[in-house]
């Protein structure tokens, strides 16, 4: 099954289900090392499910997922994460009763070295000074946008090889949204591979190398960012 692949991440023909309901049908995509790839589609198309399938939160029934030469579709989520795949989940999923500091620390759970943790935390504070102000506030009492920053910060603490972001700009003030896209670019420049799900298709396609369009559980279009942005269908469906 795991034929040698040259892509960093390769998703082959996966079908995913929520008990009986099929959410993905033969989804096929790949990401090369160092790329920013975006996945766009309307509500309920299956974007989040695709991310969850890769991270191991949803186990695909059929198909394979190969990451860095390894078949991971049967991995438990924590194993996948240990390989260096991080996910900023939809709806933020902050640990509500852990403090901001703890939420960040737990992002670096697999890191032993205290200095490294401190370093990364400083960097997150650089991006989001608000978090530094609120180190001891419980995650659950932060405002929506603050939580979103925390969720992104938490994922950055892991310093993953592949970062998957599920609608990172949701709930953020415009000024912060701009900043988020800057951070993504910056991370990418430092060598992190990015899979980005965004409703803000315009901005996503602008920074993406390539993009996929997903519709009712299947990929219907793909191409590089500019192509997709010019595509009539895409414009009609996703870009107002």
């Amino acid at each position: 099954m795991a034929e040698a692949s040259n892509h960093f991440l390769e998703v082959n023909q996966i079908d995913s289900f929520y008990s009986q309901i099929q959410a993905l049908e033969g989804v096929d995509l790949y990401i090369d090392k160092g790329e920013i790839v975006t996945l766009i589609g309307s509500n309920g198309a299956g974007k989040s499910t695709t991310l969850k399938s890769i991270s191991g939160q949803v186990r695909p029934k059929n198909g394979s997922i190969i990451f860095d030469g390894q078949e991971i579709s049967k991995f438990q989520a924590h194993k996948t994460a240990l390989l260096g795949i991080a996910q900023v989940p939809e709806g933020r999923r902050i640990f509500p009763r852990l403090t901001v500091r703890e939420n960040l620390q737990i992002g670096a759970f697999s890191v032993k070295d205290k200095h490294v943790i401190a370093e990364r935390m400083e960097r997150v504070f650089n991006y989001f000074p608000r978090l530094k102000e609120r180190l001891n506030q419980r995650g659950g009492t932060m405002s929506g946008g603050e939580q979103q920053m925390l969720a992104i910060g938490r994922a950055l603490m892991m310093k993953p090889k592949l970062l998957m972001l599920d609608e990172p700009s949701m709930g953020l003030a415009p000024i912060i949204v701009e900043q988020i896209f800057d951070i993504i670019k910056e991370m990418n420049e430092e060598g992190m591979t990015i899979l980005l799900v965004e409703q803000n298709a315009y901005q996503a396609l602008q920074i993406a190398d390539r993009g996929y369009v997903i519709q009712t559980g299947s990929i219907v279009l793909d191409g590089n960012g500019d192509e997709l942005m010019k595509n009539e269908q895409v414009r009609a469906a996703y870009l107002a």
């Binding site: 989520a77 640990f95 509500p96 737990i106 009492t141």
Partner: protein, 330 residues
């Protein structure tokens, strides 16, 4: 009236403390499992009971081999408690594997685990009873007496408004061992990464696993520690009271669970405090209720008294004494 109550106070405190620390450690087992799975682990009381029996078996074996006479009592005690703790720890892990993990995998509703835990509780009670009965013909087992040196606190001569109080050396043992266990646990949970992982798993399992946390492992470890503490407490209980039967876990379980809630469930220090407080309350009620009510209500109302205090506490502090009010962000 007041004079009577005060006279007896030292004795009540000693007895209450003994029972209270036992409640406290068992309560911690509840709190840990509850904290991580939000499951009221009905089987926990029976794990405690099993620990007591395993301790008794080991003690009898040692006695049979003549070690009891040959070794210093404290060493025998350490051997017994360590073996019992490890065995019950593993038992706890096994229970989790068999009865709870499959449910998690199937995304079952939270409460269904209540059923398996009740099932496990019946099974443990009967299995232990069968084994005890096969071996001794009677399921009520009395362990060889240990640490039963009697001390008398000569308070009366110094402070005439107190009566003298008595206790056995086992009381000191129970107190010291539980305190050691409690401190060790507190450090473990609050100062190591495991503690944070446990809390994270408790709050959001899916997301915790995204953070490279092996959720099943964390849960297993939690069960191991909680059950081992319970089992070790079983041994203490056996030594303190001498007699055990397969049903001790049931009543003690309810009390310990109550204590856990009193302190604020999910909170380890709260469980300790709740346990001690419940023990004291009960003992106080048993020895003073009829004095206070002039015989209208006797010691038989001690549990009513304890539960009413609990309910009052929860009315005024719904999250328990040590629990932090979780203000939900809306």
């Amino acid at each position: 009236m007041l004079a009577h109550i005060i006279q007896n106070l030292p004795q009540v405190l000693i007895d209450g403390l003994t029972l209270g620390v036992v409640y406290a450690v068992v309560a911690i087992g509840y709190t840990m499992v509850y904290g991580i799975l939000e499951l009221i682990n009905f089987a926990h009381g029976d794990v405690f009971m099993t620990g007591a029996f395993i301790g008794a078996i080991v003690l009898f074996l040692l006695m049979g081999m003549g070690f009891l006479a040959a070794l210093p009592a404290i060493l025998v005690f350490i051997i017994v408690i360590v073996i019992a703790a490890i065995a019950t720890g593993l038992l706890g892990v096994g229970i989790e594997r068999v009865a709870y993990r499959p449910l998690r995998k199937k995304n079952a509703p939270k409460l269904i685990a209540l059923i398996t835990s009740i099932g496990i509780s019946f099974v443990l009670e009967d299995l232990v009873r069968f084994i005890a009965e096969l071996k001794t013909g009677n399921y009520i087992v009395t362990a060889p007496p240990m640490f039963n040196h009697k001390f008398t606190l000569n308070l009366h001569s110094a402070l005439p408004f107190f009566n003298n109080a008595t206790f056995q050396s086992s009381f000191l043992l129970v107190l010291i061992v539980t305190i050691i266990m409690l401190i060790a646990l507190d450090l473990f949970v609050n100062k190591t990464k495991w503690g944070m992982a446990m809390r994270a798993v408790a709050q959001d399992r899916d997301t915790a696993s995204l953070m490279t946390i092996n959720v099943n492992r964390v849960i297993s470890v939690t069960f191991f520690i909680g059950s081992a503490l319970g089992g070790a407490t079983g041994v203490l209980f056996m030594i303190q009271y001498g007699t055990i039967d397969p049903y001790i876990g049931f009543i003690l379980g309810i009390k310990a669970f109550t204590a856990a809630v009193l302190g604020g469930i999910g909170n380890i220090r709260g469980a300790m405090f709740g346990g001690v407080m419940l023990g004291l309350l009960e003992m106080f009620a048993a020895s003073n209720l009829s004095i206070i009510t002039h015989g209208a209500m006797g010691a038989e109302y001690k549990d009513v008294f304890a539960f009413i205090i609990l309910i009052l506490v929860l009315i005024f502090k719904p999250e328990g004494l040590f629990g932090k009010a979780v203000v939900e962000k809306v």
